[in-house]
């Protein structure tokens, strides 16, 4: 496995976190191999076909992509060993690098599953428990992650959300019971009820039928009952905090059944709004507000300055995005669409959506003035009101534009650099959260520091696991001798093991290695896809 560990690292500088790998210099390795340079024409042809495949995959045109792919595979089969080696080096193909190949690979894999439509994607869900071939919870999630940017899930939203929440949770979904017999409390009794803000908020939750209000109440009560039961006697456990009702209302808006709504609610509460509601001091929330502040200063410096002059704390713009995941101000259809992305991308998407919305909705503060145009008076500029008004006026059409921008933000530079020192948003959010924890460390009790460090480790571990699993998938694809889809058709390749097209390493003398095993093969039982797949990406 030594070589493959090195492979996983070759696209990023060695990180202290990716320990155990052998430091490897890809360029040195490939130069040492001294490839016999094949004709420029072959490389040009190869590059052309790869570009065509990429274009078709980007447009999600499955038929066309498949045709190009077969042509590509046939073409590669005609090449001899030295020509393939040269092509793998990539230096004959300007514009191609490891990151681009990785992206193409993962999007092609995604396209093979979803073929450009949600009903096709959903047809694979039904085979849950009997995963076949390339379809695993991981590849399904990756596929959905590709598809979610292309089209709204429409009638398949409930299935998508259930998949996102279900595959990330460790509890058996069969245990989730939302009792119909849960006593209903009328608003008149609310004053006597310790949860009265909850009852009040349920009454004033928008977009709900009377019956759905009942469902919302049952979902919330079932949640607190479950949480309460897990705690020792006498501890009343978690309490209702204003804002939670919107997190629970969203899955109901999306048309989920009560038990599924509870599952999604608990998933977003623990996974996306991690820790925000947990402690009375709102420490995790305030930490993430600092992250937002820093990101706004990074990416929207004019806005940061205008807010500063206006005396408007960034926190005012972050309450709804962080605590309610945008459910308070965005129109319902847009909230659901944003949640599609949040559920698949994890918490980093909250920051991405917020940055995109700020840029789109406060253009006067984001973009430089034209010549002769006076700067608005920031001391009286209604940042918060404008942001909320304009959020409320977003159309589904504009929401699609927002989502496209979110994608380019998340996939820009950092997608393949989760474990490296990337400059992209994922990495930046990780760094900023680490800084926020470190900044607080001085004032904290040792117990508190331990808890925070656990929080941090968990986040890192998830990012690492995600990266490792993504690499495993790629590795399997390129290495598998039986995979007819492989572009380089490794069955006929003398370097079928430990090699991928485009990774110019491990050229000499190693014996062929058995294909890597997936980290934890999915078992047929419903409970373990989660274990195989790991928690939903948090970063």
């Amino acid at each position: 496995m030594e070589a493959t560990t090195a492979l996983t690292m070759c696209s990023a500088p060695p990180s202290p976190l990716a320990s155990g790998g052998v430091a490897y210099s890809p360029s040195a390795a490939s130069r040492a191999a001294g490839p016999s340079v094949s004709s420029e024409a072959t490389a040009a042809r190869y590059g052309e076909m790869m570009s065509a495949l990429e274009a078709a995959v980007t447009r999600s045109e499955f038929e066309q992509a498949q045709a190009i792919h077969s042509r590509l595979a046939a073409f590669v089969r005609t090449l001899d060993w030295s020509e393939r080696t040269a092509l793998e080096g990539l230096w004959l193909m300007p514009g191609w690098n490891n990151g681009r190949i990785m992206r193409l690979h993962s999007r092609w894999q995604a396209l093979k599953i979803h073929r450009g439509c949600w009903s096709e994607w959903c047809s694979h869900l039904q085979s849950e428990g009997a995963w076949q071939g390339a379809v695993t919870p991981f590849s399904l999630r990756e596929s959905a992650r590709d598809l979610v940017y292309l089209a709204p899930p429409g009638p398949h939203r409930a299935e998508l959300w259930r998949f996102c929440a279900g595959s990330a949770q460790h509890h058996d979904s069969a245990q989730v019971v939302v009792s119909d017999s849960e006593p209903q409390i009328s608003p008149n009794e609310a004053e006597k009820d310790p949860d009265s803000p909850m009852v009040l908020d349920i009454e004033r939750t928008p977009n709900l039928e009377e019956e759905q209000r009942g469902v919302l109440q049952r979902v919330l009560r079932a949640h607190f009952k479950r949480r309460g039961a897990a705690l020792p006697e006498g501890n009343k456990g978690e309490h209702y905090v204003q804002g939670m009702h919107l997190l629970a209302a969203c899955p109901i808006w999306a048309g989920l059944e009560p038990a599924q709504a509870l599952q999604v609610f608990e998933y977003v509460l623990d996974g996306l709004c991690a820790g925000y509601y947990r402690d009375v001091a709102f420490r995790a929330f305030k930490r993430d507000v600092h992250v937002v502040e820093a990101l706004v200063a990074d990416r929207l410096p004019r806005l940061a300055k205008a807010l500063d002059i206006g005396g408007v704390p960034v926190m005012l713009l972050a309450f709804d995005p962080l605590l309610c995941l945008f459910a308070l101000y965005l129109p319902r259809a847009v909230v659901l669409r944003v949640w599609d992305v949040l559920l698949l991308e994890g918490a980093v998407a909250i920051f991405a959506v917020l940055l995109v919305l700020l840029e789109l909705l406060l253009p006067e503060a984001v973009h430089p003035r034209g010549a002769g145009e006076p700067e608005p008076c920031w001391t009286s500029f209604p940042f918060v009101e404008r942001f909320h008004e304009r959020s409320a006026a977003l159309t589904p059409h504009q929401a699609e534009a927002v989502i496209k921008m979110v994608r380019s933000m998340l996939e820009g530079q950092d997608r393949d650099q989760v474990q490296g020192a990337g400059t992209g948003l994922r990495q930046r959010v990780l760094d900023l959260r680490r800084e926020a924890v470190a900044a607080e460390a001085g004032q904290l009790s040792p117990a508190r520091q331990r808890a925070d460090s656990a929080w941090w480790d968990q986040a890192m571990e998830q990012a690492m696991q995600q990266a490792a699993e993504a690499m495993d998938q790629v590795r399997l694809w390129w290495r598998s001798a039986s995979d007819a889809d492989s572009v380089l058709s490794p069955a006929q390749s003398p370097f079928g093991s430990g090699r991928r097209a485009g990774w110019p390493v491990d050229l000499g003398g190693r014996p062929p290695q058995p294909p890597a095993q997936p980290r934890a093969p999915p078992s047929p039982a419903g409970a373990s896809p989660a274990a195989a797949e790991g928690p939903c990406p948090q970063m």
Binding site: R204, V241, V312, M315, L316, F319, T379, P382, V384, E385
Partner: protein, 215 residues
């Protein structure tokens, strides 16, 4: 409607906070004051919201910068940081909800300790349109306000009754304090400050007390 530029001509800027139990009608009160209409189907406030309006009191243009806070006890650790330097505080209760009235004392204590020692405070009995459900009489609330040396008014955010009066009343008290020399608006950069001389200047930020999202 005044243009954006004209709107910014003011003599003083006062910071106000609106506090009180959840569901007392704080956000509706603010909305009624700023927009002159009732906010239907309004949701709860998450954290803190914000609005501003210029009013004319005693021959002066006063810009009110109003911070509307979440009522739930659980949010206090977030909302408290927004109290600092407030020149005026509105403590809102619901006249049909005895509990919200009983909690006045706690809110009063919060305002006095966290805003400023000389914050001008008014207690506001909201929902006075719902007379048949009244649980707190005008008289007892008025007496309680007197004992605690704070102002008192009843309002209806639904009909708008008394809403503007609340803000004007508090602003007038603060203005009187300034004119009597009890508050120096130039040294007290936190709760109030003079507005006119800084119009068009780029340096408004440092005089604001509101950048208090410190944790």
């Amino acid at each position: 409607m005044a243009s954006e530029k004209e709107k910014d001509q003011y003599d003083y800027l006062f910071k106000f906070i609106i506090i009180g139990d959840a569901g007392a009608g704080k956000s509706c009160l603010l909305h009624q004051f700023i927009e002159n209409r009732y906010k239907k189907g309004s949701s709860h406030t998450i954290g803190v919201e914000f609005g501003s309006k210029i009013i004319h009191v005693g021959g002066r243009n006063i810009k009110l910068q109003i911070w509307d806070t979440a009522g739930q006890e659980r949010y206090r650790s977030v909302t408290r940081s927004y109290y600092r330097g407030a020149a005026g505080a509105l403590i809102v209760y619901d006249i049909t909800n005895r509990d919200s009235y009983n909690h006045l004392v706690n809110w009063l204590q919060d305002a006095r300790t966290l805003a400023r020692a000389d914050t001008s405070i008014i207690t506001v009995g909201n929902k006075c349109d719902m007379k048949d459900k009244r649980a707190v009489t005008f008289l007892e609330a008025s007496r309680c306000a007197q004992e605690n040396d704070i102002l008192f008014l009843e309002t209806s955010a639904l009909t708008g009754e008394g809403v503007e009066d609340v803000f004007i009343k508090v602003a007038r008290v603060i203005l009187n304090k300034i004119e009597d020399g009890l508050i120096d608006p130039n040294t007290m950069v936190s709760g109030t400050h003079t507005g006119s001389q800084r119009i068009g200047s780029d340096s408004g930020g440092e005089a604001m007390s509101s950048k208090t999202c410190s944790c």
